[in-house]
């Protein structure tokens, strides 16, 4: 979450991380809420202004911030809890695979997160 927010915001700001670590207790078990870059992306389908577009090169669904109206439809639609609303900017944010080289996968010490191409 820290490297993620730093990549996108140039500061540690967990509220702006594009992935979240969730657990019922401090002692785990821990669940990573992360975007799967679905083939049939529910977020993109739910978006009323078609602001979420597939980047052909990286394979990531990317929010066009200038188009996004901040309605939050995508947040509700995502079955993996991987879309968030950026409350200070009023747009939705999601994992864009760090333009192709995701830092979480690069730095995860236990390799709990990795990048794999499925299609």
């Amino acid at each position: 979450m820290n490297f993620c927010s730093f990549h996108h915001e140039s500061m540690v700001w967990q509220q702006k991380a594009r992935l979240r670590i969730d657990s019922e207790s401090d002692d785990g078990p821990f669940q990573v809420l992360i975007c799967w870059q679905c083939e049939d992306a529910a977020c993109a389908a739910a978006c009323p202004v078609e602001a979420i577009i597939l980047d052909q090169q990286t394979g990531a669904w990317v929010v066009q911030e200038d188009i996004c109206v901040g309605c939050g439809e995508c947040v509700t639609a995502c079955p993996y809890g991987a879309m968030y609303l950026d409350e200070t900017r009023g747009v939705s944010i999601k994992c864009d695979l760090c333009q192709g080289a995701p830092e979480c996968a690069l730095l995860c010490p236990t390799k709990a997160i990795s990048l794999e191409r499925v299609i």
């Binding site: 540690v12 700001w13 002692d27 010490p109």
Partner: protein, 641 residues
Amino acid sequence: MFAYKGFAGKWLYVDLTTSKIEVCSSEPHIAEAYLGGSGFGTRLLWEKVSPQTDALSPENFLIFSAGPLCGTLLPNSSRIAVIAKSPLSGVYGDSNSGGFWGPELKLAGWDAVVVVGKSPKPVYLSIQDDHAVLCDASGLWGLTTSETERAIRSEQKDAKIKVAAIGPAGENLVRFAGIQFTPQRSAARVGMGAVMGSKRLKAVAVRGHGPVRVADAKRFHQLSVSFHQRLHQNPIYEAVTRYGTPGITSIMNALGRFPTRNFQLGSFPESERIDAEALERRAFVRHLACFNCPVGCDKLFRVPDGDMAGLALRSVEYENVNALGGGIWNGDLDQLLYLNRICDEMGMDVISAGRAISFAMELWENEILNLDDTGGIPIRWGDVAITARLLVMIAKREGFGALLGEGVKRAAEKIGRGAEEFAMHVKGVEIPGQDGRAQKSMGLAHATSSRGADHLKAFPTIDETNQPDDALRRYGEAYLPEMANPLETRYKPFLIKDGEDFCAVVDAVGVCKSGGTNVFTEFYWEDIAEAVEFATGMEMPVERLKEIGERICNLQRCYNVLHGITRTDDRLPRRFLLEANPSGNARGSTIDLEPMLDEYYDLRGWERVTGYPGKEILLKLGLEDAWQRLCVFRKASESMI
């Protein structure tokens, strides 16, 4: 906006007597001279808490202080320092915890929380980003540390609140009561929990949603990534992530550096029943980590069956395995975990509590204590049931437990009859899980540490095992082979002086010594200087950072001098000087402390006879005010003779 990034730029001042909460701006000149963390705390204590102030009086300050690197992207950046005058030593005190509380404080937008006064009724402080309020804690008083955390989270309906809480030991002013931080991490040493209890402050709960900014994002990011990679490539990475600090148990036994039976021995014959491998086999559940830490030295343990079935806990450290294992002659792992749990829930330092028990056991062995003294309780070596009972009695200050809760020094004075011989302390603080006879540098470190017997103020790790690699990397060929040899005294005063200055900086920026700086001996002056420069935007050549470390150490020393500390207090118990360690590699060795002390004072620019800092060094460090107070103090004490 504060001049420097990394810092939040403001801190909270809470007067519990009047229930007043003020917002204070961080001052650039303090940040430049002391950074934050315990550096900030040292300066504040020096200015505000006079030598006449009793540690448990309302006038003492209790300072929670995060450093400029705490809560940043840098690996191991989780630490929070707690500073106050110590009720155990009566002099400068600080203690330090990992976990998530320190970073959360920064995310909420604060560098520090400074608490003074005494509340008329139990309260807790709740911080939600910019808002801080005092809440009634009458219903929490008496609860254990984890119960308190749970109660506050459910009261505020937020399971992500980070809590710093005291347990019954802190409420009852046990002199070595600690503060427990989410998640079950402790700032355990030298009685910070008792100071909190004396103020009737049950907890400080924090929730933050903001950012932690740095000055040069690009270079700070690069540095953080390289820190990650270097940790990964470090030869001990695998072992530390797998076992955490208990991983050194078997090595320390072989070295004779595993205090056993109140330091009668340097290794425990049954250590294989309680070492890291045994712990993993018996109770390992999963690896856990502090904020932003790729090491993850913490583990969750759960006892699978037997009497203690279901007992689950984390933060089982090497010190716990030592103090509640070999220290008290206990080889039963399940029971050890249970005793550990009692200390955590009651909120008291495992090291001091364990040493208080082993002290009592040795007195019993020597018939200095009898049933009349103990209220009918026989205190035999290895009796875990009695130990469990005594720990609770200490926390509740009941019967004989009340005496042990004073710490071994005071207890020995009250008991008399030669008990002092067996009180293993320096400056009133119980000695942790190392033996200065087996590692000479550590003996010196215990003697000179500003907070009393302690390994973490200088934390010499390069000469533990006689492997030259770390010593070579840090200090070069010229210092070998002696520098790497634990039994050699040569160069060790230099190692301790340098280590103290470095650790002072580590505690002032808010990173972890179990990570890259000390346990891994991976990051050193150059690395931390870069990190501070990129994070804060302060120009930070290595020499300047070294001066900051030296300044903090000297000011702590001056503070202690004003409290009557002299060379005679930089001592070790007689046992270390005269009784040979009979175990392992250390077999036959004692420690010759005085020549090392001479050299250490010379290196520091302190007087050999008194141990007082000299004029030259204090002026060089810009501590004119300290020099003046020292002069006045010296005149006053000389006129008393």
